[in-house]
């Protein structure tokens, strides 16, 4: 079904025609996709989940200088049942990996993952036996934020990228998977 956006102009003497797309006194009828995406992208509740030094930057993102609540994400939830987005902040040790996966599984759909920092995204300098070389080996990652640690602005940019991704989601669309993504699905 094609996406439909209609604008009806009411109570505007300058443009009395119904169906005109002029601005002023208008009501926007959005499609179901857009309404759902709006609700999702403007209230991304992150999970209180810090693993290392990146978590310090994540905390200062919540503070008044950068103020993540401007994007509706100030409600850090202490339980995965109420969270929408998991910000993996810090290196994931192999011992922590099953815990990360379990927390991800406990989050309700729809859920997103931001991999914050070099260590969470790829292992960073810790190319050794103890650290998982990229959290995408455990959970599907939506946005990678490079940096060591990423400054609060960089994390905010990652959140904005995630919002763009949520906004562009269409529910009736057939999703084409690359062979690499298909592998991840079947495994």
């Amino acid at each position: 079904m094609p996406k439909r956006i209609e604008t009806v102009v009411l109570h505007d003497s300058a443009t009395p025609k119904i169906g005109s797309i002029e601005k002023g006194g208008s009501i926007l009828l959005a499609s179901k996709d857009q309404l759902l995406n709006l609700a999702r992208e403007y209230a991304l509740w992150p999970l209180t989940f810090g693993l290392a030094c990146c978590a310090i930057e994540m905390m200062s993102t919540v503070a008044s200088r950068f103020d993540i609540s401007r994007f509706g994400s100030e409600a850090f939830r202490a339980t995965p049942r109420q969270a929408d987005v998991m910000i993996v902040a810090g290196r994931v040790s192999k011992k922590m990996a099953p815990v990360v996966r379990q927390i991800y599984d406990q989050m309700p759909e729809p859920k997103w993952v931001i991999s914050m920092g070099a260590c969470a995204s790829s292992g960073g300098v810790y190319n050794n036996y103890a650290i998982v070389q990229g959290v995408d080996q455990i959970v599907p990652v939506d946005v990678y934020v490079p940096g060591c640690p990423p400054s609060p602005d960089a994390l905010l940019y990652g959140i904005l990228k995630l919002r763009e991704k949520i906004k562009s989601r269409r529910f009736n669309e057939v999703i084409e998977l690359t062979p690499r993504e298909l592998d991840q699905v079947t495994v």
């Binding site: 008044s64 200088r65 950068f66 103020d67 401007r70 070099a118 995204s121 790829s122 292992g123 960073g124 300098v125 190319n127 990229g134 995408d136 939506d142 946005v143 990678y144 934020v145 490079p146 940096g147 060591c148 990423p150 400054s151 602005d153 960089a154 905010l156 940019y157 990652g158 904005l160 990228k161 991704k165």
Partner: protein, 153 residues
């Protein structure tokens, strides 16, 4: 009774609100990030750039000292010989391939310190987040500074 209410309830509320009112007059601490960016400190280290000389030649001579200094081993340099027909840098050699794995890089700036010609510099562009892992391999074309005047070199 009324004096008690005034003393115990209304006065502390007014006292607290007066503090709020005083704070309202101060400057706002919040940086409205996507619309305006804060001024970053002068030594901020973010995205790498491969610099050029003023005549358009690349500064990088492909010596791989940056790759050796990198604690995360995220730089890959492949050097090739300059010829008179195909000249990229003033010296004998130039970097044929120069790749940085941005997702593994920790932005320590050791590459910048190690570079003998000042070819690799870390600038202030921090907006690097992306969706796919493959997009973080920055190639030489992405890292090179654009030519100041088109058609030069």
């Amino acid at each position: 009774m009324i004096t008690e209410i005034v003393g115990d309830v209304i006065r502390p509320i007014l006292g607290g609100l007066s503090l709020t009112a005083r704070r309202l007059r101060r400057d706002k601490a919040t940086v409205m990030y996507p619309e305006e960016k804060r001024e970053l400190p002068p030594r901020t280290r973010w995205r790498h750039v491969l610099a050029r000389y003023e005549n358009g030649l690349e500064k990088c001579i492909g010596c791989s000292l940056c790759a050796g200094a990198c604690p995360a081993r995220c730089i890959y340099v492949e050097a090739a010989e300059n010829t008179d027909e195909e000249r990229y840098s003033p010296g004998e050699r130039y970097a044929k391939r120069y790749e940085i794995n941005m997702i593994r890089c920790i932005f320590c700036g050791f590459c910048q310190e190690a570079c003998p010609t000042g070819a690799i510099v870390l600038r202030k562009d921090f907006e690097l987040a992306n969706y796919h892992r493959d997009d973080f391999i920055y190639t030489k074309e992405m890292l090179l500074e654009p030519l100041a005047i088109a058609g030069e070199q």
